[in-house]
């Protein structure tokens, strides 16, 4: 844990220990370095191809006219997007998904802030039990929860309501949010908070004025993960939502997979619509992802 408090720095003080480059670099060393470079770039390149070709494939199908077999999307067409957005109802699905994802983000981040603060700053009886229980929830298969959750939402009158999705997404994502958030809060030095108390702040004031601003990256990271996981949820959505005006994007996609059968252009366009918000968000939070995991999840 202590090693993690210092962020991975790019300026390595360790460089001091390397022998100063006075000796002329031998040809042998030069070749070793070149080999090393090849051994880095070639496999990274291969991984990149493996990752990027499927994305490109989808973009290709989404932007090229039906019937074309060209490997570049030219002449470019937006017909497929118009088809799915208006004809297949992706306009509505997109709004529904956005609502569900944003509400899950807000609810789970707020709850994670409260709980994470308790876990990071208080010793209390039952803390270990609470943590173990939270971890155990990760072993519960989502498919296992379908029947009982369906009955609960039925009792609450929430079937076919977007709130059933928001609640179940939040519950399933909460353990991760909590543990991540506790890690981020633990990384804010306790002394800062104490200094604020000494200066006359209450606990709540100290939290709001001192911790919250420093916690911004953590909140962004936790919130984004909640958003992405809610945006991507399929199993609960297909079970709990029954009328088409409530469908979310993944449900819409699954119907495209069945309905259209061979209209791969429309399917690809639906996929692009589904991916855009997530990729934009991911590009933004990607660096917090690694930080956040090293701060909290992996090491506790």
């Amino acid at each position: 844990m202590t090693a993690l408090l210092t962020p991975p720095s790019t300026t390595t003080p360790a460089r001091r220990h390397t022998p100063p480059p006075v000796r002329p670099v031998s040809a042998e060393k030069k070749r070793a370095r070149r080999i090393d470079r090849v051994l880095t770039y070639v496999p990274v390149g291969l991984f990149l191809i493996f990752t990027m070709v499927p994305f490109y494939w989808m973009l290709l199908f989404a932007f090229r006219p039906t019937g074309s077999t060209s490997l570049v999307p030219w002449p470019i067409t937006f017909d497929h997007f118009i088809t799915v957005w208006n004809g297949s109802g992706f306009g509505i699905y997109f709004q529904n998904s956005l609502f569900v994802a944003i509400m899950s983000l807000v609810v789970s981040t707020l709850i994670a802030l409260l709980g994470g603060y308790a876990l990071a700053r208080f010793p209390f009886k039952g803390k270990a039990l609470f943590l173990v229980a939270m971890l155990c929830t990760q072993f519960v298969p989502g498919a296992m929860m379908l029947i009982p959750l369906f009955e609960i939402f039925n009792t609450l009158g929430l079937t076919n309501s977007l709130w059933s999705l928001i609640i179940s997404d939040t519950v399933f994502h909460l353990p991760l949010s909590l543990i991540l958030m506790a890690g981020f809060i633990r990384n804010v030095p306790m002394e800062l908070e104490e200094a604020a108390w000494v200066d006359g702040c209450t606990r709540i004031q100290a939290f709001r004025l001192v911790i919250l601003p420093l916690l911004k990256p953590g909140i962004v990271a936790v919130g984004s993960f909640a958003f992405i996981s809610a945006w991507n949820n399929f199993l609960f959505a297909i079970m709990f939502l029954s009328s088409q005006d409530r469908f979310t994007v993944p449900v819409g996609l699954s119907y495209l997979l069945g309905e259209f059968g061979t209209d791969f252009g429309a399917l690809a366009a639906g996929g692009v619509i589904a991916i855009v918000p997530v990729v934009v968000l991911f590009a933004y939070v990607q660096k917090f992802l690694v930080q956040g995991l090293s701060a909290g999840a992996v090491k506790g």
């Binding site: 409260l114 308790a118 072993f139 959750l149 061979t262 997530v278 991911f282 930080q291």
Partner: protein, 312 residues
């Protein structure tokens, strides 16, 4: 606590305000703070899990309501002679072992590679990790576009003389590996992210001194890197195993468990029993078995991989 010096002890430090945890309610603060999380979890997770255990001891089938009632261990006894259960169980094992094994090999390689310093590392990282954020159903969408027989990659391969036109990768012998590949596309980045976090906390000085002492790359890996990331690798493989075990989205949408139940995992079988056949009792019994297997597997795995000298 910041210690006030004797010379200038400010008065307010003695007041209640400066010690925000004082007061009769103070010791309950943490409980108030975790209450929302705890209540949500109990109502929407613990209670449902409990009810699954309850239903596993009941006959509860919407299509045969006259049989409803206490079943004792009937559902579990029925499991023993259900060929689909055993087949789904062995497929689940196969799926988890192959997926986690390959994700371990390639994910570790990817994490080690992407942790090196090279030009364009930031961009390479963002791109290579991006499938992590893609949902199961979207993965299906993408790979259906790739695998479909008429306009998929098979057609272009046939153009240059590899394979035949009209080959569907999602039928016949290739099905398993086609699905494995699609899941790897998403799983390798996931695994790599979990490892990279830990790799970054290895002190570079260790490598510097190893260099000075003349340790080769392999020796550096076995003596410095591996001991450092071992714990993270154990956790990552366990998490991936649990997630792959529970993975429903991809198989459900990509193959639907077919052809002829060949790619039906246990959770997928649960979903089919519960949703299609409406047999909640039997579905719950299947779920209980899945839950018990996962728990035991995790405990054994953690016990086996725990060795002396885990000082992290």
């Amino acid at each position: 606590m910041a210690l006030p010096t004797l010379t200038e002890r400010p008065k307010r430090i003695l007041t209640v305000r400066a010690k925000p945890t004082a007061g009769r309610l103070a010791r309950y603060y943490p409980y108030f703070l975790i209450a929302p999380a705890a209540i949500l979890t109990i109502v929407f997770l613990v209670y449902p899990v409990g009810s699954v255990f309850y239903f596993s001891l009941q006959h509860s089938n919407v299509t045969q309501p006259w049989k409803d009632g206490f079943a004792g261990l009937d559902n579990f006894i029925a499991l023993g002679s259900d060929p689909l259960f055993w087949r789904s169980l062995s497929f689940t094992a196969q799926w988890v072992v192959v997926e986690v094994g390959l994700q371990f090999v390639f994910g570790l390689a990817l994490a080690l590679l992407i942790n090196k310093t090279f030009i364009g590392r930031g961009i390479a990282r963002a791109l290579v990790f991006s499938p992590w954020a893609v949902s199961g159903i979207l993965t299906t969408t993408i790979w259906i576009l790739i695998y479909n027989p008429s306009t998929g990659i098979g057609r272009y391969l046939a153009d240059i003389g590899i394979g035949e036109y009209g080959t569907s990768f999602l039928a016949g012998d290739t099905t398993f590996w086609a699905v494995v590949l699609a899941e790897l596309w998403k799983g390798i980045p996931f695994f790599a992210i979990l490892i990279l976090a830990d790799l970054q906390s290895v002190s570079l000085e260790l490598y510097e001194s190893a260099n000075v002492d003349g340790a080769g790359k392999i020796r550096q890996f076995t003596s410095i890197t591996w001991p450092h990331i071992r714990q993270a690798v154990i956790i990552a493989t366990l998490l991936r195993a649990v997630w792959e075990f529970n993975n429903v989205d991809l198989l459900y949408t990509l193959t639907g468990g077919g052809p002829a139940s060949a790619t039906t995992t246990l959770p997928l079988y649960v979903a089919q029993t519960a949703i299609h056949d409406r047999d909640f009792g039997y579905g719950s019994a299947l779920t209980v078995v899945a839950f018990v297997i996962l728990t035991f597997f995790s405990l054994i795995y953690l016990r086996v991989t725990k060795t002396k000298g885990d000082d992290k």
